[in-house]
Amino acid sequence: MSSFNPATATDTRQQYLTFTLGEALFAVGTLNVREIIEYGHLTPVPLMPPSILGVINLRGGVVPILDLRQRFGQGATQVSRRSCIVILEVQRSGIDQVIGIVVEAVNAVLEIPEQDIEPPPSFGSQIPTDFLIGMGKLDTRLVVLLDIGRVLSLDDLQLLAGRELPESA
């Protein structure tokens, strides 16, 4: 029997957008990616944690922009000529949330078969394992598959914002 089976092929081969942040290669499912735009025109929002860089005007809508590296507790992302903003669309608990993330460079859209995805390592990762789906094996290197819903979790972001609040004394 032929190994070709369209049903499983579409099920297991999800497409991922890969991008670079610091030294590492990350990937998010393309279904969550709305668009990729040039970096710029950021308006900072005061009294927010440093991981929230500000907001941009995306064709009339106001979209918050997140620095993933600061979100992971690493240094600030260096903005260069190749920097982009990836606009992500996440649905959590019934609410559609549009958030942008700053990346150093966008690489490619790849199909990663399920058998090439390993569960996240239990230790040794610089990124909280909550945020990971797993590690994808490419030809030469590993790619970190992000559980973008978790990364952009509204409750956590609100908590971050809330921490900035001057508690009434």
Partner: protein, 709 residues
């Protein structure tokens, strides 16, 4: 045609018609012979019946038909509107509204609750009293003493030619036959296909059909005519009553002269015209041509008259509110794109280009203004709803109270109008229950026995003011103080002005009524009113003169989507302060150095907040700084900013979940340049000023910033 998709329209339309019917009924109470209103009521009932028939809601049709018959008698002058009939008709309207909402919630009319059925039966019973002198379901009195062509009593002949647009207008000739079936029984139908064009010229959306119907019914002429109300103008509908004289048939044949003898044969086949009369009728066929032409001449005039009546209604279109919001968003983007183009044009130094860009921007701004007015609706419709409330409540509590409405044409945003209904209901009921005194008290106070509740609306300073006033007993400040002390809302010995005392009734858990009535007085009223209004960015205050009455004044912004703002700059960022909270702008006196928290404003102490510090802006402050003096809820404070960038009108974008906990911000807006500006939450900032020393806020936020992460 898929009926499900239009059933929503039917429901919305019927609800609107019922509302119109109710309004007209309430007005007719004061002028029972107003023919136009009577007609309006009749038309409403009739249209509901007609549309219900199209959808096959037979129970609505049957019920409405009875009501319509009564209304028809009113229209004819046989019955006069009096209090009982109006009350009955209001109940009929309520029952219909109930049936419609049953449909709206997706229920079938066949499984109505038992009580609804009982109501319907009772209403039908009451209605039929009005029909008794000449009930619709008895044979019409003495038939005209003319030669009987054929057929016995109750044999109608209907000659129907539908207009070409009948199908396009959503009518189905078959539905008329079905509806006729509810009025009597159809004996014979002859299709008229003479007007059918050859196949290649045929437009499948046009209606070429005509029908000749022999119909047996006990219904009266207007009921049968009524069935064709919607096609009467376009098509040609002739209804010949039972035992119609031969001349009537002759006239009919004359009118259908173009169809020649085929029409006469059809009449015979229908059994409406005896075969021996055929010859007679045919002889008159020639003279008929003349009659037909003269008739045709006066029809356009009549049609034009009818059109002018309908055209006013046709000027309104129903639009989904979401579509409007989308439009307004798009227009907002258009403005930004236009500003960008203008900037590029100026940079290009091409005079023609600049001019064209300027024209474009101006037009776009006009488009924005008119797009925004699309969301504005008159408050009159909301006010008129209270006619019914006042009428019902005044009967319930046994007081004679009349509602006076003014300023109904004041416009405000639809979202505001929708949310103001509940607080207004509360206030109106309060005014009636507690405000207006019983008749004997009014009599001894020398006031007219009839109490007056007034609803008024007007524009003031970029907002709208809604007043609910009554000419009742007014509020006693001392009584309020006593009550407030008793409830522990104020401590003993606290000093209040009269106005402050009056406004205590907006505090949670307050009620001045000694007796709790069915309507109000449970002490959950006024604080809910205040909360609802504050949620709409509005304020509420109360004026009262003991013995003369009370006036509650609600101030609301015209729209929730737009504010007039003052654009200010701090460092690289722009912020917007709502203009209605700005009192004045002054330059920060150079003597006021950092560390000081107050400045001297013409002899008064003005506390201020340095936005630069609050927002932790690290950039170098400019040589001269400005102070924006803001006031909200009686608190005044200064905001120290770098630059004043001028006034502008702006569309508010909500903060979104990520930022909703930031205390100093209430929203975003997009500037002409495409950059995002932040709208300052002045009430929030001022609360901070009153709660903390401003240095502590800044200090704390700095400290927290360094500890976070």
């Amino acid at each position: 045609m898929n009926l499900d998709s239009v059933i929503g329209t039917f429901i919305a339309e019927s609800q609107e018609l019922l509302q119109q019917m109710e309004d007209a009924l309430l007005q007719i109470e004061h002028a029972p012979d107003d023919a136009e209103r009577i007609n309006a009521i009749f038309r409403a009932a009739h249209t509901i019946k007609g549309s219900a028939g199209l959808f096959g809601f037979d129970s609505i049709v049957a019920f409405t038909h009875v009501a319509e018959s009564v209304l028809d008698r009113v229209r004819a002058g046989d019955v006069r509107f009096n209090g009982d009939l109006i009350a009955l008709m209001l109940n009929v309207g309520d029952h219909l509204a109930g049936l419609i909402s049953q449909l709206a919630s997706g229920h079938d009319l066949s499984d109505l609750p038992e009580t609804t059925r009982a109501t319907e039966a009772a209403l039908t019973g009451e209605l039929s009293h009005y029909l008794e002198p000449q009930p619709a379901n008895t044979t019409p009195a003495a038939a005209p003493d003319t030669p009987t062509p054929v057929a016995g009593a109750g044999h109608w002949h209907l000659s129907l030619r539908f207009g070409v647009d009948t199908l396009r207008n959503g009518m189905d000739p078959l539905a008329f036959l079905r509806y006729l079936g509810t009025l009597g029984s159809i004996l014979h139908v002859e299709p008229v296909l003479d007007h059918l064009p050859p196949l290649e010229a045929l437009d499948p959306e046009s209606c070429y059909l005509g029908l000749e119907v022999a119909f047996e019914s006990q219904a009266d002429q207007s009921a049968i005519e009524g069935a064709f109300e919607f096609v009467r103008e376009e098509g040609s509908i002739r209804i010949l009553p039972p035992q119609a004289p031969l001349s009537a048939f002759r006239e009919l044949i004359a009118e259908r002269a173009a169809e020649g003898t085929a029409q006469v044969e059809r009449l015979v086949r229908c059994g409406s015209l005896a075969a021996d009369a055929f010859e007679q009728a045919a002889q008159h066929n020639d003279s008929a041509h003349e009659t037909a032409t003269t008739r045709a001449a006066d029809t356009p005039e009549r049609a034009a008259k009818d059109n002018s009546r309908t055209s006013k209604d046709a000027n309104l279109i129903r639009v989904d509110a979401d579509k409007l919001d989308q439009l307004i968003n798009l227009v907002g983007e258009l403005i930004i794109a236009g500003a960008n183009t203008r900037m590029l044009a100026q940079r290009s130094n091409l005079a023609d280009m600049c001019e064209s860009a300027e024209t474009l921007s101006r037009l776009v701004e006009e488009v924005r203004d008119s797009a925004l007015t699309l969301r504005m609706v008159q408050i009159g419709a909301t006010f008129n709803r209270f006619q019914r409330v006042v009428r019902d409540v005044s009967r319930e509590i046994g007081k004679d109270i009349v509602l006076q409405i003014s300023g109904g044409d004041t416009e405000l945003d639809k979202t505001v109008v929708e949310k103001i209904g509940d607080p207004l209901t509360h206030l109106v009921r309060n005014a009636m229950d507690h405000g207006i005194e019983p008749a004997e008290v009014r009599h001894s106070a020398g006031k007219p026995l009839q109490g007056v509740v007034r609803l008024n609306a007007y524009h003031e300073a970029g907002g709208i003011v809604i007043e609910v006033s009554d000419d009742g007993g007014g509020l006693n400040p001392q009584k309020i103080l006593a009550k407030a002390t008793q409830r522990g809302l104020v401590s003993e010995g606290q000093q209040f002005g009269d106005k402050d005392l009056l406004n205590l009734i907006f505090e949670p858990g307050f009620s001045t009524a000694e007796q709790i009535s069915n309507l109000s007085g449970r002490g959950v009223g006024m604080d809910v009113v205040k909360r609802n209004i504050t949620a709409l960015r509005g304020t509420v205050e109360l004026d009262s003169v003991l013995g003369q009455g009370t006036c509650v004044r609600i101030r609301l912004p015209l729209t929730l989507a737009i504010i007039d703002g003052l654009l200010i700059g701090v460092g690289q960022s722009s912020y917007v302060v709502p203009l209605d909270m700005v009192e004045e702008c002054i330059e920060l006196p150079s003597a006021e150095i950092a560390g000081q928290q107050h400045l001297d404003l013409r002899g008064e102490v003005l506390p201020f907040i340095r936005l630069r510090q609050l927002f932790d802006d690290q950039s170098q402050p400019p040589r001269r700084e400005n102070v924006v003096v803001v006031r909200y809820a009686g608190i005044r404070a200064g905001l120290v900013v770098d630059q004043l960038l001028g006034e502008f009108q702006t569309v508010i974008k909500p903060l979104g979940k990520v930022f909703c906990q930031v205390p100093a911000l209430s929203g975003f807006t997009i500037l002409g340049s495409g950059a995002v500006a932040l709208i300052l939450d002045i009430p929030g900032l001022l609360t901070q000023v009153t709660q903390h020393a401003n240095t502590r806020i800044a200090g704390q936020s700095n400290a927290l910033r360094s500890t976070a992460q």
